[in-house]
Symmetry: D2
Subunit: 467 residues, 4 copies
Amino acid sequence: MMGEECGIFGIYGHKNAAELTYLGLYSLQHRGQESAGIVSGDGKTLRQHKGLGLVADVFSDPSTVKGLTGHLAVGHNRYSTTGSTLSVNVQPLLVNCKDGPLAIAHNGNLVNSAQLRRRMEQEGSLFQTTMDSEIIVHLVAKSQKPTELERIIEALGQVRGAYSVLLATRNEIIGARDPRGFRPFCLGKLGDAWIVTSESCALDIVGAHYVRDVEPGEVVVINKDGLRSIKPFESSKYSFCIFEYIYLSRPDSRIFGDNVDKTRRRLGRHLAIEHPAEADIVIAVPDSSNTAALGYSETSGLKFELGLIRNHYIGRTFIEPSQKIRELMVRIKFNPVSGVLKGKRVVVVEDSIVRGTTLRNLTRLIRQAGASEVHVRVSCPPLRFPCFYGIDFQTSRELIASSHTVEEIRKHLDVDTLGYLSLEGLLEATPGDGLNYCTACFEGNYSIRPEEDVSKLSLEKETAISI
Amino acid sequence: MMGEECGIFGIYGHKNAAELTYLGLYSLQHRGQESAGIVSGDGKTLRQHKGLGLVADVFSDPSTVKGLTGHLAVGHNRYSTTGSTLSVNVQPLLVNCKDGPLAIAHNGNLVNSAQLRRRMEQEGSLFQTTMDSEIIVHLVAKSQKPTELERIIEALGQVRGAYSVLLATRNEIIGARDPRGFRPFCLGKLGDAWIVTSESCALDIVGAHYVRDVEPGEVVVINKDGLRSIKPFESSKYSFCIFEYIYLSRPDSRIFGDNVDKTRRRLGRHLAIEHPAEADIVIAVPDSSNTAALGYSETSGLKFELGLIRNHYIGRTFIEPSQKIRELMVRIKFNPVSGVLKGKRVVVVEDSIVRGTTLRNLTRLIRQAGASEVHVRVSCPPLRFPCFYGIDFQTSRELIASSHTVEEIRKHLDVDTLGYLSLEGLLEATPGDGLNYCTACFEGNYSIRPEEDVSKLSLEKETAISI
Amino acid sequence: MMGEECGIFGIYGHKNAAELTYLGLYSLQHRGQESAGIVSGDGKTLRQHKGLGLVADVFSDPSTVKGLTGHLAVGHNRYSTTGSTLSVNVQPLLVNCKDGPLAIAHNGNLVNSAQLRRRMEQEGSLFQTTMDSEIIVHLVAKSQKPTELERIIEALGQVRGAYSVLLATRNEIIGARDPRGFRPFCLGKLGDAWIVTSESCALDIVGAHYVRDVEPGEVVVINKDGLRSIKPFESSKYSFCIFEYIYLSRPDSRIFGDNVDKTRRRLGRHLAIEHPAEADIVIAVPDSSNTAALGYSETSGLKFELGLIRNHYIGRTFIEPSQKIRELMVRIKFNPVSGVLKGKRVVVVEDSIVRGTTLRNLTRLIRQAGASEVHVRVSCPPLRFPCFYGIDFQTSRELIASSHTVEEIRKHLDVDTLGYLSLEGLLEATPGDGLNYCTACFEGNYSIRPEEDVSKLSLEKETAISI
Amino acid sequence: MMGEECGIFGIYGHKNAAELTYLGLYSLQHRGQESAGIVSGDGKTLRQHKGLGLVADVFSDPSTVKGLTGHLAVGHNRYSTTGSTLSVNVQPLLVNCKDGPLAIAHNGNLVNSAQLRRRMEQEGSLFQTTMDSEIIVHLVAKSQKPTELERIIEALGQVRGAYSVLLATRNEIIGARDPRGFRPFCLGKLGDAWIVTSESCALDIVGAHYVRDVEPGEVVVINKDGLRSIKPFESSKYSFCIFEYIYLSRPDSRIFGDNVDKTRRRLGRHLAIEHPAEADIVIAVPDSSNTAALGYSETSGLKFELGLIRNHYIGRTFIEPSQKIRELMVRIKFNPVSGVLKGKRVVVVEDSIVRGTTLRNLTRLIRQAGASEVHVRVSCPPLRFPCFYGIDFQTSRELIASSHTVEEIRKHLDVDTLGYLSLEGLLEATPGDGLNYCTACFEGNYSIRPEEDVSKLSLEKETAISI
């Protein structure tokens, strides 16, 4: 099943609902570049427009956003995983069931979707996508509860795993966050309009103010009567995704009640304390590691430098180059600044290492640009376990640290020293007492176990391929 | 619900299954220009490609057809109705249910789809399109019969109306035609491969030979064991759509067991006997009325002339012209040949009159080109009743003959005389004893009544709009 | 150099000049499908939009035609030759010279363009296209005559060959036809607006009336003072392209002062007298041979039938099919109607034979559809010599009749009999006394010899390739 | 006339010449995003592909680069000026003159192109674009010198202004830089292949090494005999564009013989000395001011922070938003990080101020994000005079500093303090003794005066508009 890193945005009570959603999706583009979509509603019907590509591409024709009339809207950005990009899998998903039209936009990953799907298929349901969100609306459609809201709550009560989810009917939008609160989800207000979205940066862009987070296990129903909060689920220990602080969220966002920027800075500071380096300068792998690198620089006293220039004009279609050319093309994304690096002992701060392939190429470029020593510092512990709750490393095989020691990874990267932030350091640097975070990718201590073999699922995923 | 004029093509047992389907869809393009799609299967999975536009447009990138590997394929062309072109409504529809992937391509129109949909929605099904074909696969998915084939048969047993339908699983294709046989459906062979398609012209284009029609009420199952015929439904009186002979099918096809060309010619002959004209020449509204006009010419002895040139280079996007320009643009499609028409008393043969708007403009052009008299002859009786079985006039309002006498229509067209072929003449001209045809559009004698108000349905159709 | 079959349309004095030009180009689409373009002027500036593809494709965005404001416009359709489609070669060509902007649209082919180009290159001119029209505007730019009109006339005085040409400045449009009048060119009026265009069918479509032909050697200058006719060139014997009557022009056009339809009909009549056939039916290769086939039918008394259905939905991009599929694909364009052909002795009327490849495939299909005998009748004499004046067979190698006898061609086509209309028959059937036509493609009697080796030219043509 | 900020790349002697040019253009994308093009040559012919958009867009189809065969290539990126994007103005420009095909790619701006064009138009030349590069090839074409190289040199001897230009014939590439050396231009080697390009970052990306700069006034001829250097022009005082160091070039490039990064850092240092601030943190307007801000931070001792996040996913097509939405949309490009800015006295380092509009919006956002004070520091002196040599501020009206004092600008920006780097500081910070730079945009001391009114030219520019 598929869920993964995504950005969602919903608004109720504004005459430019779709336009604001469009802006919100723009600011959440870092959470997903594979596809984008908006469903709007005017009380009578729901309208949708969605497609593969960036927000700017999918909505490049100005008339499309204008055509999405109505006072409520939900939107979705999807993460670009390699390989199977299914056009049927673009969200929001708009379906019709006994109550009429229903749209859903989901961020997260369910761990029992395969069982639910299999059960419902046995009972006669048919599926047109491979998305978790289709599971949820099927459960809603099948529920025999008397009201649509009760049906939605019953549906959510059956899914297990991570979800920050938005639903839209003709007359209201409903936001819900799983009881452990894996993924961020916050509430904002713009005049009388309510907004529910993944990160607070999407509130900023539309000029809305942050009100509070949607709480873990909370369901918010927003309609003409305003916002109503329901807590239908038993409370659980929280499992905030700590990787949001490390990498995924934008530094200007506030998530899980705290500033990303400040936390990410502290990661760099702790890293400097744990893994100092005899070096001349500190550089970041731009842009995601910039903030941690600044923290490292501050605490270590080593000068922060811009040693890598990132090319932001990279398109999505490349020539199939000859072998020689292919090697040259790794340089397109990052260009080392020789004037900065030459003859220097360089600390390279990276937020995390998955496979290590890109970082290996990058450190080689840094050396070729004249660095005399390369010291890699990683602002989180080794990633050793797959994530089942929405981050895109779903098997151990993808994770170099699942099968290699730190020293082996250092050799693989061919760098002078390698230091990872410790789990203790990570938890100290993040807000709170460290009890509320999911750290399963480092420790394997899954708060909710997936109920069956995930590899088997990924095969099923390929059953229906839309070219 | 939507079904309507479409072309379908399925093949089993050829290594170029998708390529041949592509060719077949080309030859069925006259049955639908709104969208096209192909699903192919290789025993393990089903792959699809589909989109809005002509076959040539949807498959303009050569790699798409090549990517549809496998030994079986089903394809679909859809008719372009005005207005709501829903991208979710492109067929074949590919879904997953308990047996795995299932694809469906449907030509025809069900009369109880609204009830079935409502019932299944109440039972917890959700719908993502407004197509009849989705109804059918939902019924398959919900069936508790032990085998997939039995589930398909049970599903088809519940739908009422017109269907020539193709289903594809990983390992076989299944063709089924409703017990009344409204829409044409024929079987062909190309080497060892079996083909099931709407018209025999699609067999010709791939070099296959016509074997026989799929019989009304017959289900054909084609897999590695060859073709197996099943007759699971009670036999009914046949209701072949007589409009296929009048207008829809290609003249080079063989449908309902007979040549379209020959029958269409006889329509013209009978028309000449019933409605002779004191005239100099006979012209057709090209291209669909050419054959009937030739028949009229033969029997009347009046010279057949090419008085109207049709412009085949008309694209699908037009400028929004000023009022003056708009009037000029009716001339883009047909250009009268003054040299042929000047000073002549002209018989214009038209296959049928729906609204009469185009014909009115056309006869005015013919007069302006110098015709001294214009005599319209229509090769079918007045269309007075909507069709519920797949032809695109679904309400009486669209039909000028539902509210106007022939004399009133003549005045509206502003022509000298107007003659419609009589129902008797029509039935005499068509093969067989006339008992096997559906003539409901002329007589209102629906063999299967739609079970509820259609106008109500068409409102629901708009519930989910995909821009 | 390149000129060839094209359609041109110019209008002065209408506030919707570009929109009417767009309509005019629609009706001239048969003269060229490779590219289309319009230049409009409002007295101050010239604006252009052009591109590769059909008129409907190039102007698919409604805003483009609307953006072409002004009271004058010239437009151009270009013929699609195989192979090198150069985007720089799209007309009209818009340049700036000392008088300001100048646009040109050209139909025809010059025979001394290579020499002129070489001379001007030696003198310091540079060329950005391979079009004859660029030669002409270079000559205009280089002329030292005192007025722009005199410069245009001096330029035209230096080119030799076939041209019906339209020029537009900020304030006027100028039409000119070479002294031999190879290509058709006519004048029409729509209210106060003047129109100059290739065929009268373009006048019909905009509701204008035909005034007269632009005379061979005439230059018409149209501006706020109305139309002014100049005859600056010595008079020559006329050389009307007889192939316009045989094939190129639309039957509803009036060219060279006469109806195409009537003349083309007479070709069929004379063909029937010269080459009768013991046969049952007459069919045409649609659509271009329809009219001649009707003439053949009338005179021979053999019944005219629609034995071939032409598929008009063929796009321009095809899959690269396997060998087996490639053979099947010839059937996409024409489908034989077995019901018509089976067991019949069939006369197939074709307007002309160039290579004979398509006709050979077609006659094979006709036989496969059941024809017992196939008799090909061609409504012109054997094409034995290349055309240097604008028809697309520029070398003898392309012409089967340049190296094969009629009997050899019959064998190649594998048909029972083959008859070509004689030159005498052709000239008798065309209006006038036969003295005014160019028949060089049949006789080799070129009225204007190209001054150097054409094969050498075609190499140069490839010097600059725009992909 | 048009020239302006562009990136050029030429290579001779590599079998993947076009592929490497494609990579080079990628790394020069920051110099121009409006259009891209490549001309390749194989000794016999030149081939081209070009179009509007980014390199990745124009060459999105892999087959296009592959089709550009041959061992030599020249490529061009063009800057996106607002408004008139003429498709005819895409470079390289490929023409044919007496020597055969000739391609040209130009970076810079000529000051006597209007006169040259007028003179040549009077002499009979015609122009199809509004580019300076067309002027140059016209001069080449008209030259009567005996060899092509001499003709090129004679042509360059007649143009005045800024040019770093690449020409390609069938057999060689020729690079030339104007005697004052306004624009950067450097030589590199990759194995036996020579490369000539705007910035050294394009050498890095293809793995070539920097050899030296093309010297001002130097012409380099590269063919099978290797590189030959010619100095045909009288030597002049150099006028290196100092704005390349301030803003235009990439920090990882080496231009005018020195590292951009190091120089730009020094600008920040000097700025800190000249304009210290009582503040808490230093932030940059990313990405172009990052390096200067680091320098400011180092010298001032104020902490460097990432206070603005730049959104790199912004597409080129926007919705036409309602007024309210338009205001919100300024936030799309830059998002302030409240956690960094809140309660802080902030120094904002910007590389330069043209109109001041964006900066004004940005400082307002910074204040809204909680900054208690905003101090703007600009790493160059006030821009008061237009640039005639290739930077995109061509009239005084565009420059706020041409009509406002620093204090007025401070008020306009609504910031607490505003400090510009002094001219002396700028010259001290740049390599050399400061005598070699063009500082006309600050001082108005144009080394080469444009010979006529530029505003008149810009009107002519609009004469021929291609939509």
